[in-house]
């Protein structure tokens, strides 16, 4: 029984990181593309745009970090494995 739980936990950890990286990667790509477009149109606003971009990227990236934390919990602090 515990073996099955361990197998499923390792598999789910890999799935969590793999699938959880997809969405943030697409989102960050779109936001960087939009920021580059904005800087190309208005180079004088580059400072403000890149500061906002950094904060926004950090927010988007948090979802991927959550997936990483879930994967770590499954691997190292799994409550269902004694």
């Amino acid at each position: 029984m515990t073996d099955l739980v361990q197998i499923v936990s390792v598999f789910s950890a890999a799935m969590a990181v793999g699938l959880g990286a997809l969405g943030p990667a697409r989102g960050e790509g779109r936001s960087v593309a939009a920021a580059l477009d904005a800087i190309a149109r208005q180079p004088e606003a580059a400072g403000t745009i890149s500061r906002t971009l950094f904060v926004g990227l950090a927010m988007i990236e948090t979802t991927a970090i959550y997936c990483l934390v879930i994967a770590l919990l499954l691997l190292f602090a799994n409550p269902f494995v004694q």
Binding site: F54, V55, A58, E61, Y66, L68, V69, L72
Partner: protein
């Protein structure tokens, strides 16, 4: 068990176990304090090289603070600057052989995020008064009260998780690369880790400033009483 979620004890102080992140944190604090104590008596009108670097840092920081929160930047300079310098030194301390960055453990990040949480409440109450600060939770309408309350918790929680996840995953990846391949393979990964550490320190300081600034900002405060127009 040696896992990223568990800190190894360095020594025991009676019944209290002191872990390695605590030792590294105090080492960084001592190093920063000593640097400042050595540099401070040597401040001169004609700056030396070290003083020029420090002045550049302070000027850039002031510019960033003014761009995010209008007003006198000296209010937030001590807190935000200390957060920035400490997180940067902590992230880069993994370059010293045998040292693990204290920010790669959840406890240090939780302490830093708690500091930001408490200071955002402190600045909010100080800028608006207790009633004004409480009223800011019902800002667009009273429907938003539960959401605003949850947001206060989750954004500081995510501040903690973000720093932990980024730094810890950097350390973890270098460890895996080191066990798989030889001496020079982890070097590019370590360079990437330095970049990530610097960006994360910047983001932590910026987000702390944004959170504190949003509790201070005057845009939803009651407008100042209108001046009476003179009768003529």
């Amino acid at each position: 068990m040696d896992t990223p979620l568990h800190a190894l004890p360095a020594f025991a102080l009676g019944p209290v176990e002191v872990t390695w992140p605590v030792v590294t944190t105090w080492g960084i604090m001592a190093g920063l304090t000593l640097t400042v104590m050595v540099l401070r008596p040597r401040l001169a009108l004609r700056p030396s090289r070290a003083q020029a670097v420090l002045e550049l840092l302070v000027t850039t920081l002031d510019g960033e603070i003014t761009a995010t929160v209008p007003g006198n930047p000296a209010r937030f300079r001590a807190l935000i600057g200390t957060l920035l310098v400490f997180v940067l030194c902590a992230n880069w301390s993994s370059l010293i052989p045998g040292v693990e960055p204290p920010t790669a453990h959840l406890e240090t990040d939780a302490a830093l995020a708690l500091l930001v949480f408490v200071s955002s409440i402190f600045w909010g109450i100080r800028a608006r008064g207790l009633g004004g600060w409480l009223a800011s939770f019902a800002h667009p309408s009273w429907v938003m009260i539960p959401l605003n309350l949850v947001e206060q918790i989750t954004r500081h929680f995510s501040l903690m998780i973000r720093l932990f996840g980024n730094v810890m995953s950097g350390v973890f990846v270098i460890g895996i690369a080191l066990t798989l391949a030889g001496l020079l393979v982890p070097v590019p990964l370590m360079a990437l880790d330095m970049l990530t550490g610097a960006v994360q320190a910047y983001i932590f300081a910026t987000l702390a400033l944004v959170f504190i600034g949003s509790s201070v900002s005057e845009d939803d405060a009651p407008p100042p009483p209108a001046k009476e127009t003179p009768h003529d």
